[in-house]
């Protein structure tokens, strides 16, 4: 059995392996897309949460069902679904986070057979009434998972699941903390592999793997080299190492991210005291910093910008970065609309920004090499 980073790397290269093994043993696997669905409820129902991702390989089947001007990430996920790559998944939870995900859910349901489907309605504004509504939505999800799993999710067992997932997030934050020093103890390429691995196995195993990795990298001698530039990467779904690896190969240490499969997923915990469903609702709707959630402007424009983006600036300061790359997947309107403001906001704070728009494919990523190099030459 591989340990530590090697364990993560192997899982990254064969993501579904463990989930398939567990299914052989009689476990049920629940796929979910995006950072919003509450893994805690899936775990509490005795099911295995599994993050659905795409691939940078060319899309073959999905173009017959989706317009090519839709999010290439979602198209790629559907492509894998139609190609039966997610056969080992028993059920699916899709949230209404963006329109692409919402609309594709129905198409997925129609063309890819699973025995369980749940659509999670997530309000767009973090207002008091939204939290109330969303907590009820989570209660509906709880009921449906209980039915599918044939179990009763007691408050006690939900709290226990929340505790284990909080531990998972705490471990990921601890590992991220090891990137503050120069050189960082773990590269962003490795971190992406770890993240992908962590979302492919039951949370208990994930915690064990993360502890293992923290122990390994804390004392490692073969960590990343010190580079002249420290970077932050901002964007949405990066589920492949290709882009981040390219940036690191160009001569930078990528030391922090604001990504859906990065800090956005694990930076905030669920409060333990009080009603667990309300607390889950608060974390998901209130604390996942995704532009799909509309944070109503209050006060001055500067206050509005601070309200939406100051956490990115704080990341940049805390991790001592000299530049940021905004890596936006083409047709992701949610992120594209915010990108110019994020760019100006960071530049104002003295952080140089490179904005790249990508169509989520391997060939386009290689084409960014010169731009990344020129950006590094500019800020070195």
């Amino acid at each position: 059995m591989a340990k530590g980073l090697d364990w993560a790397k192997r899982l990254y290269e064969n993501r579904s392996q463990r989930a398939k093994e567990l299914r052989e043993e009689g476990k049920k696997v629940i796929g979910y897309i995006c950072a919003f669905p509450p893994r805690e409820l899936i775990t509490a129902a005795g099911l295995v949460p599994y993050r659905i991702t795409g691939t940078l390989e060319p899309i073959a089947e999905a173009d017959a069902y989706l317009e090519t001007l839709m999010c290439p990430y979602v198209r790629s996920c559907l492509d894998l679904g139609i190609k039966k790559q997610y056969d080992f998944v028993d059920g699916m939870i899709w949230p209404h986070t963006c329109d692409n995900i919402q609309k594709t859910f129905d198409i997925w349901k129609h063309y890819v057979p699973h025995s369980y489907f749940h659509y999670l309605d997530v309000p767009h504004m973090p207002d008091p009434s939204s939290f109330e509504f969303f907590a009820k939505e989570l209660d509906v999800l709880k009921g449906s998972l209980e039915e599918f799993g044939g179990v009763k999710i007691t408050e006690e067992c939900l709290k226990e699941a929340i505790g284990v997932h909080n531990e998972n997030r705490a471990l990921l934050r601890q590992l991220t903390g090891l990137r503050k020093q120069a050189p960082p103890l773990i590269s962003a390429t490795e971190m992406t592999q770890v993240m992908m691995a962590a979302m492919s196995i039951p949370v208990y195993e994930s915690n064990e793997m993360l502890k293992n990795i923290i122990e390994e990298v804390s004392t490692r001698k073969d960590g990343p080299q010190n580079k002249a530039t420290r970077l932050l990467i901002y964007g949405c779904e990066i589920d492949d190492i290709a882009f981040i690896n390219l940036v690191e190969e160009c001569g930078a240490n990528v030391v922090i991210d604001d990504l859906c499969m990065g800090t956005r997923d694990y930076w905030k915990d669920v409060v333990m005291e009080g009603d667990p469903l309300k607390n889950l609702a608060h974390r998901i709707l209130g604390e996942i910093m995704c532009p799909r959630t509309f944070r109503r402007s209050r006060g001055t424009r500067q206050q509005d910008l601070d309200n939406r983006f100051s956490y990115i600036r704080d990341f940049a300061k805390e991790f001592n970065v000299n530049g940021a790359i905004l890596y936006i997947i083409r047709y992701c309107d949610t992120f594209e609309f915010d990108a110019p403001e994020v760019r100006d906001y960071l530049e104002e704070a003295g952080i140089r920004v490179l904005h790249l728009e990508d169509d989520y494919s391997l060939t386009s990523i290689q084409g960014y090499k010169t731009r990344i190099q020129a950006f590094l030459e500019m800020i070195e």
């Binding site: 728009e357 010169t370 731009r371 020129a374 030459e377 500019m378």
Partner: protein
Amino acid sequence: MAFFAGIDVGSVTTKVVITRDSELTAYHVVPSGANYKMAAQKAMEEVLAKAGLSLKDIACIVATGYGASNADFATLKVTDISCCAKGVNHLFPSVRTVIDVGGQASKAIRVNEEGRSTNFVVSERCAAGSGRFLQIIARVLQIELGDVGPLSLQAKKPVIYTTSCAVFGESEAISRIAEGTPKEDILAGVHNAMALKIYSLISGVGLEEECAIAGGGALDVGLIKRLEEKLGVHLLVPPQPQIMAALGAALMAEERSLALAS
């Protein structure tokens, strides 16, 4: 006093420059063809012959351009964005915006007083607004690339192009030929479409005078005219616009040697 060299292995041509004391000693341009490694080798040998030098006289070589990695004799690699900024700044120290129309892509670069790039935008992974578009249209119209500019200047009624995409642009040119539109009007239309594309690139970095144009595209007087109209500024054109990145690379080689020596 030592000599320095910069080699820019571009998608269409390979350019090499030798400098001494920050002054141009010799330069040479060869087609890159389908073997960049051979082109780089050939360009280097021929420029050395021109200058009456041998490789050991060159203290440091910087390679740049799309195929920079093929110049394996170079000491280091720097991107053509930084090199182009450097080269143009050497000739025109007051220039703050550089347009580079290359064979593969067009770029808008902001340059500071030290000749460093402070911001840049590159045309997205396609030939829109690049020199390749001109090559394609020249082939469709069966004229020499060198005649594209002068012919375009004679246009009476430039056609309106709806695209700056090289592939759609080609079919659009063919449609106009079928309608009997004169070549010069088609060419002026192409230049307008390219100017619009480059204008939108420049909007990304902000146009600050003075503005210079480099790259092979700057040899095209038709494109320059349309760009000046669109941008509303006078464009400074270096005497050999296509060697600006190679010149910048040679100057960087010099700077690097000086830095190492001190």
